[in-house]
């Protein structure tokens, strides 16, 4: 029997309030981790395994910050041992203070390290370096575990040079990292650095890198599916308002318009929520503007059906049936009737349907009328609406896809008017127009056509999220 190798693990440690949880949040793509400016928000270590079909590729630990680093270091220094024995002293410290509340946080953060986790030490380079960090770094050195430092830039001032000089004395690798603006590229760079910490971890972490790349591509594809469905449903949607026997009132037309607009807005909201779920943003606080229909004329039309067929369909059906019956008679007469049967049958069927349609539709059978009268709105006829809707959802998706999971503020999702320039040109309009016309027609759209549209949306999204049309957003 073969045993699974222990997956690489990394403990994110540091001084309180230096963005450890933000870094874990962004690397683990988890927006549920509590992040606040109150020190001590993280009270227990938490394990974030990267699992693929249940197999752990690596794990991250979010830990509380050092609270009594000087006291812990003083305890360690009481045991004067050679460098190769220092990790045993740290283990002894953990054993000795297991029940000691004073060192709860130190024990929580040191435990995963002593169990084999690599160290990711986090500092904030927007604040000056201070001597008080040295006790923490010294303790970490005593553990003997591979380590790297991440310079997190929380504020605007830049003290990274002095931090780099100090950190260089304690850590194998020093990297800058901004969890609030984490792109896939940056994410992968951090993973590359983590892979370098220990040789035996390299293969596994490299696997994770490849996985993240394909995972990211899959998220884009899933978003494109949602967008495709939104456009198809919104453009092809027909809203009906069932009428009685009286004349159509203006209020009924207005009610239908409200219903129609409401339905399209709901389609958009549901799609936005699905996209947020795809990108693991389930706790988003957002500010956005409702879909408006300014400058878009919507027309309602009175219509009726009999047995589910419209007047036109019924006319064609009756004409066809009459013609077929007449043709049968012609055939029986061996053509000697000169196709008169077909002609007469078609005319009789057509006229019958034309005049009997209204009467028949009012007949009640089994408690229901055979037909119904209604006001109808849709499919969308306005040629610009698809681009307004598509622009909005593309903006939303791009924003969500590039939003850090560490961000806890309110996200401004109101579309920038210049956004259109990023993805829209005459070539794209030409390619999209074909699909939009089809969606807004009453023809059935097959899976193949939807897949083609989805491929086009994927291409646009890739450009906006990763490629040359890439956007950068400021988080305020």
């Amino acid at each position: 029997m073969t045993t699974q190798p222990t997956p690489p693990s990394f403990a994110v440690v540091g001084h309180p309030n230096k963005g450890k949880s933000s870094i874990v949040s962004s690397l683990a793509m988890d927006d549920t981790i509590a992040i606040s400016d109150t020190p001590g928000t993280t009270t227990h270590k938490r394990r974030f395994p990267l699992k693929v079909d249940g197999e752990v590729l690596y794990e991250l630990y979010d830990t509380p910050g050092f609270q009594r680093a000087r006291q812990a270091l003083a305890w360690l220094k009481q045991h004067d041992v050679s460098a190769d024995k220092r990790h045993e002293v740290v283990e002894a410290f953990i054993r000795a203070h297991q029940e000691d509340e004073r060192f709860h946080d130190e024990i929580e953060l040191l435990a995963p390290i002593m169990a084999g986790a690599g160290i990711i030490y986090v500092v904030d380079a927007s604040k000056p370096y201070g001597e008080e960090y040295e006790a923490e770094m010294e303790i970490l050195r005593w553990t003997g575990q591979p380590s790297m430092a991440l310079i997190n830039q929380i504020g605007e001032s830049d003290y990274s040079a002095e931090w780099r000089r100090a950190l260089g004395n304690y850590f194998q690798i020093v990297r800058s990292f901004d969890p609030m603006h984490l792109s896939l590229e940056q994410h992968l760079k951090v993973l590359e650095s983590m892979a370098q910490l220990r040789e035996e971890w390299t293969a596994q972490v490299k696997r994770s890198i490849a996985l993240f790349e394909s995972y990211h591509a899959r998220l884009i594809e899933r978003s494109a599916t949602v967008i495709t469905k939104l456009l198809y449903h919104a453009l092809s949607h027909v809203e009906r308002y069932v009428l009685g026997e009286d004349e159509v009132q203006a209020s009924q037309k207005q009610a239908l318009e409200m219903q129609y607009k409401g339905r399209l807005r709901r389609f958009e909201e549901e799609s936005q929520q699905r996209i947020e779920q795809i990108w693991n943003h389930r706790n988003l606080k957002k500010e956005e503007r409702e879909l408006t229909f300014e400058g878009i004329d919507l027309f309602s039309e009175e219509s009726a059906s009999l047995f589910g067929l419209t007047r036109k369909e019924m006319l064609l059906t009756a004409t066809g049936t009459g013609a077929a019956t007449g043709a049968g008679i012609d055939l029986m007469l061996g053509g000697s009737s000169f196709m008169l049967g077909t002609g007469i049958g078609a005319i009789a069927g057509g006229i019958g349907a034309l005049f009997a349609f209204d009467k028949l539709s009012q007949i009640r059978l089994l408690g229901q009328t055979l037909g119904s009268r209604y006001l109808e709105m849709g499919p969308m006829e306005n040629r610009n609406f698809p681009y307004i809707l598509l622009g909005r959802i593309l903006y939303h998706t791009t924003r969500i896809a590039t939003l850090s999971h560490a961000y806890r503020g309110e996200v401004d999702l109101v579309m920038d008017q210049r956004f259109k320039e990023r993805w829209f040109d005459s070539d794209r309009r030409k390619r999209l127009e074909r699909f939009h016309r089809l969606f807004a027609s009453d023809k059935t759209v097959d899976e193949k056509t939807l897949s083609e549209y989805e491929a086009l949306i994927t291409e646009i999204l890739k450009g906006l999220i990763d490629g040359e049309d890439k956007l950068s957003f400021s988080l305020t």
Partner: protein, 459 residues
């Protein structure tokens, strides 16, 4: 692929609460189906059908369609039977013109089958006139009318392609029932009565031409059942004209020969109306199955289900719940807004002596003794500094660094020795030593949590 699977999957997807991990686990369990999405969906439906609350939509639709089909098929059979009996009605005075019967069992099926073929080719269209004129379409409409009372029917709409094939298949079934009725009528009439068949037409057809025509019709069975192919002699003997609309003496003389027509008529009915129609029925069944397989993929949520099944499940989240963090109180009464100017002692927490000097100058404060505490000091050094502290102590702290328990330990020790301790958060030199309100708030919350009567905080 059955209609039931399609309807059950529709109902399952509508109410589905399965997690991504459950879906992926199912996908991995049925890896052999990965290349066949429809089979995957069918297997998933099979495995999860028990989750649906009875009565199932599929059972209701199935039952109604079955009942309606059975009823209409019975009607079609009876109509076929009576049409056959009517066409073959024989008074004994004049022969039965077999052209009528032949039209019904050969030409009518060929015409309707051509229309069916055309409808099959256009089955992908939403609006299909050939489907609309089918009796089966009207059957579905009536079923819908009955079923519309059910709430769920309002939200359910068949995929147009499935709907078209459903009608085409049922049309073939009805036509088949009608044809079987004709065949039964023919066999019944032949068995119970002695019929003299003849042929008559307004068209100018010679016996030879009509014989050639009949031989063409009989081509499919000519080789292996020659007795069911009328001979030229029989054709000639059976020809009668409208002006002599009764049995001629020649006909009476060859009465036994005239009766042999039935074999030809039976074979024509069997082949054109029954066998060919059965082939069309099988073709329609195959088309419906294909349409159902493809329609499965178009159901709302099916694509996502397939993706969840087939794509590796990536999880990055913590398995355990995060303990709730209680936000400390932010109100504190012992606040000072201005420095006193002079203190008995000034301590700088993690501030070097040089920094302390610069800050004191900048803030215009002084003390008898200024000491560096925390930072790189040993605990022993700090303890000694605290021992020597008394009276009014100003403890300067870096506002941007959050208060650690190391600081708290020091403060509590200091508070036990001094008369009054004022904690003053200081901003960076870039800030002109003025802290931001946000930074001060963090310190206020921490000091408030300690609630020491002689500890004050400078806002």
């Amino acid at each position: 692929m059955e209609l039931k699977s399609y309807l059950d999957l529709y109902a399952l997807l509508k109410e589905d609460r399965s997690s991504a991990s459950q879906r992926r686990a199912f996908g991995l369990e049925h890896k052999e189906l990965q290349e066949d999405p429809a089979a995957q969906l069918e297997a998933w439906t099979q495995a999860h059908r028990q989750r649906l609350t009875p009565p199932l939509l599929s059972d209701k639709v199935d039952h109604l369609l079955y009942m309606a089909t059975l009823l209409l098929a019975a009607i079609a059979f009876v109509v076929g039977l009576f049409s056959g009996v009517g066409l073959l009605s024989y008074s004994g005075k004049e022969p039965v013109n077999l052209v009528y019967f032949l039209s019904m069992v050969v030409f009518l099926p060929l015409v309707t089958m051509s229309m069916t073929l055309f409808a099959m080719m256009r089955a992908n269209r939403t609006k299909n006139l050939l489907v609309h004129i089918s009796p089966a379409f009207w059957m579905e409409r009536i079923v819908t009318l009955v079923f519309k009372k059910e709430e769920e029917w309002d939200t359910f709409a068949f995929n147009p392609r499935v709907f078209n094939w459903l009608i085409i298949k049922r049309s073939q079934l009805l036509a088949l029932a009608f044809s079987v009725g004709l065949l039964v009528a023919l066999l019944g009439v032949v068995a119970t009565r002695d019929i003299a068949f003849a042929w008559s037409t307004t068209l100018e057809l010679s016996d030879t031409q009509f014989h050639t025509f009949l031989e063409t019709i009989a081509l499919p069975w000519k080789v292996w059942l020659p007795s069911a192919v009328p001979s030229l002699e029989l054709v000639a003997q059976s020809h009668y004209f409208r002006l002599g609309g009764k049995l001629s003496e020649t006909m009476v003389a060859h009465a036994a020969l005239l009766g042999t027509w039935w074999k030809f008529l039976a074979m024509a009915t069997l082949f054109y109306a029954v066998v060919l129609r059965s082939i069309f029925y099988l073709l329609a069944s195959w088309g419906l199955k294909r349409a159902l397989r493809e329609a499965l993929l178009t159901l709302e949520g099916a694509t996502l289900l397939l993706r969840d099944m087939n794509e590796p499940l990536v999880s990055t989240r913590a398995q355990d719940e995060e303990p709730l963090f209680a936000q400390p109180r932010s109100d504190y009464a012992r606040l000072v807004t201005q420095f006193d100017g002079h203190y008995d002692h000034i301590h700088g927490w993690s501030l070097s002596k040089a920094q302390l000097g610069v800050i004191c100058d900048a803030l215009g404060i002084s003390a008898s003794e200024c000491k560096e505490v925390g930072g790189n000091n040993t605990l022993e050094t700090d303890r000694k500094i605290v021992e020597k502290s008394s009276g009014d102590v100003l403890l300067l702290v870096k506002a941007w660094e959050p208060p650690t328990m190391d600081f708290v330990d020091h403060l509590l020790l200091l508070a036990s020795k001094a008369t009054k301790v004022t904690v003053a958060p200081i901003g960076t030199d870039a800030q002109g030593f003025t802290p931001s309100p946000k930074e001060v708030a963090v310190w206020v919350r921490k000091i408030a949590a300690l609630d020491q009567s002689n500890v004050w905080i400078k806002q």
